[in-house]
Amino acid sequence: MAALQGFDSLTSGDTVVAQNIAFGILAVVMIVAALRMVTTLNVVHAALYLVIVLAGAAGIFILLGAEFVGVTQVLVYIGAIVVLFLFGIMLTRGALGEDEEANIEKRRMAVLVGVLVLVVTGGAVLDSFGDAAVNRAAPSLTAEIGDSIFSQYIVPFEAVSVLLLAALIGAIVIARKD
């Protein structure tokens, strides 16, 4: 984020070189880490690769000027969700720790589906949005997000709150011994 501010001084016209470089690095790191995540046999390593992907996503959010979302991403995903994963894996080792190689035809099918999804969505994206540019004038204000959550989006917000409570109770009920 420290770097981000400086980027503004480099801005000239519509070309933002430094931001594109940052995006390129983040994108490559994220995709490599994501690929490693779904192929590695060690589940702990997979969780650590997931951390890299999530941190990259946080970087992308900040690049897009969505500071609050980026920080929330770090707090919730890296600070809580991945920790939950690691905790679960380490508490139960053995079966949770290792994943045998999936059988070949299953993997072949999965690769096929994955490539298909990529081609279709990618094609659709390229087709529909052409060369729309992201014109980030300034990072969006946190106050603005807060205002819209508690006015425009109050119903979904309440729904999410209820869902979280339900999930909390549900998880406790499911995971309890006896």
């Binding site: 380490m90 508490l91 139960t92 080792r93 053995g94 720790g97 290792e98």
Partner: protein, 390 residues
């Protein structure tokens, strides 16, 4: 749980080896954890194998003998005066107290009795070594529970006690001062006054510990109702000393039997506590240090004059016979069973040391507690490795 059979022991060790082989994928469900032999909590080489389910102990097994030095066997090839040099090192924190029961047993076989002055000085030194020993426990218990500071206070104030012991005996840790028939020497000049000053320091130290450690809420939360030993179980495992008095058993050899020291002539009290938990053990020891201070003070005031050595032959040969003498040592009851064939060396010496019995309760006591409590319970049982392994 009673003591493990051979097969059980072997199963443990096999499980141990299997666990050493597991790769980085570790388990915590049904995990075997070795506490010791080299571990910061055991201040010595005691090894406790615990099987865990999460943080809860399913089974615990003490493995002793990493520091066995064979004193009983060694004593068979040493003359009687030489044996005291060895047995000094059993409970190394209260060494003088180790010599007393052996000397008393030998005196009983030889039918000599130390002169009154020697008896009183013995009593004073006996109680001083108890203070030197237990003071360290009072601080160390804090360290085991995570409070670093008290142990420094304990080391600081124990130093004064050791100075006084050194002033009389010439040795800080291993005095080797007790002789059959009396003591090696008389008290040095001015010692009595200095010792009284030291006793005041120790009393202040006890007050500090009462506030700093026993009065701390977290300390209470960590020790109250933790590691409760019912009186009958404790007695069945042969526990003794402050450990059993903390379970409400009013049993102290200094009062209940004639140990051949001057305790009968002193005015003091045996402390007990009804709870039997870790806190009770700490509390009882704290009171006993205070009581020891009063005893030493009375000894200092009441030392009779006279010689410190009875008439004994220059070369000591103990007449054939057997004798068993036990005394209330800092860690509990310590006894020596001497069999003599009338030679220069004892035929057989059997040492009953307190800590061995005190830690043998651990398999029963540690079942079902949390890992952190294992440490606090072990600390509260207060053992000295040398006293377990001899």
């Amino acid at each position: 749980m009673t003591a493990a059979t051979d097969a059980q022991q072997r199963a443990y060790i096999a499980g141990q080896a299997a666990d050493a082989r597991v790769n980085v994928e570790l388990e915590t469900e049904g995990m075997t954890l070795n506490i010791g032999p080299q571990h910061p909590a055991t201040h010595g080489t005691l090894r406790i194998i615990v099987r865990l389910d999460g943080e809860r102990v399913v089974a615990a097994e003490p493995v002793m003998g990493y520091m066995h030095r064979g004193y009983e066997k060694l004593a068979e090839v040493r003359t009687y005066p030489q044996v005291t040099t060895l047995i000094n090192r059993i409970d190394w924190l209260g060494s003088f107290a180790n010599e007393v029961p052996f000397i008393l047993a030998a005196e009983r076989l030889m039918e000599v009795e130390a002169p009154p002055r020697a008896k009183w000085i013995r009593t004073a030194l006996f109680e001083l070594s108890r203070i030197a020993n237990v003071v360290l426990f009072l601080g160390d218990m804090g360290v085991q529970l995570g409070a670093v500071t008290p142990v420094f206070f304990a080391f600081r104030d124990r130093e004064f006690v050791l100075n006084q012991i050194e002033a009389v005996t010439g040795g800080r840790f291993h005095p080797n001062f007790d002789r059959i028939g009396g003591l090696k020497d008389d008290l040095p000049k001015g010692w009595i006054e200095e010792t009284k000053g030291v006793l005041d320091r120790i009393r202040t130290f006890c007050d500090e510990m009462e506030v700093l450690v026993a009065g701390n809420e977290i300390f209470e939360a960590r020790t109250r109702n933790i590691g409760v030993i019912p009186a009958d179980v404790g007695l069945a495992y042969g526990m003794s000393g402050a450990n059993i008095r903390a379970s409400g058993v009013d049993w102290d050899l200094r009062r209940d039997s004639d140990m051949g020291l001057a305790h009968g002539d002193l005015d003091w009290k045996v402390w007990t506590h009804p709870d039997g938990d870790s806190f009770a053990r700490y509390w009882v020891r704290l009171q006993e240090v205070r009581e020891s201070c009063t005893m030493v003070e009375q000894c200092l005031d009441g030392i009779p004059s006279g010689p410190v050595m009875a008439k004994v032959p220059r070369i000591i040969k103990v007449p054939a016979g057997e004798a068993y003498v036990e005394t209330e040592n800092p860690l509990g009851i310590m006894g020596y069973y001497i069999v003599s064939k009338g030679e220069l060396v004892p035929y057989r010496v059997k040492i009953r040391s307190a800590s061995f019995n005190n830690v043998s309760i651990t398999p029963w006591l540690l079942e079902g507690v949390y890992v952190p409590d294992v440490i606090s319970i072990l600390a509260s049982l207060y053992f000295i490795l040398g006293d377990i392994d001899r």
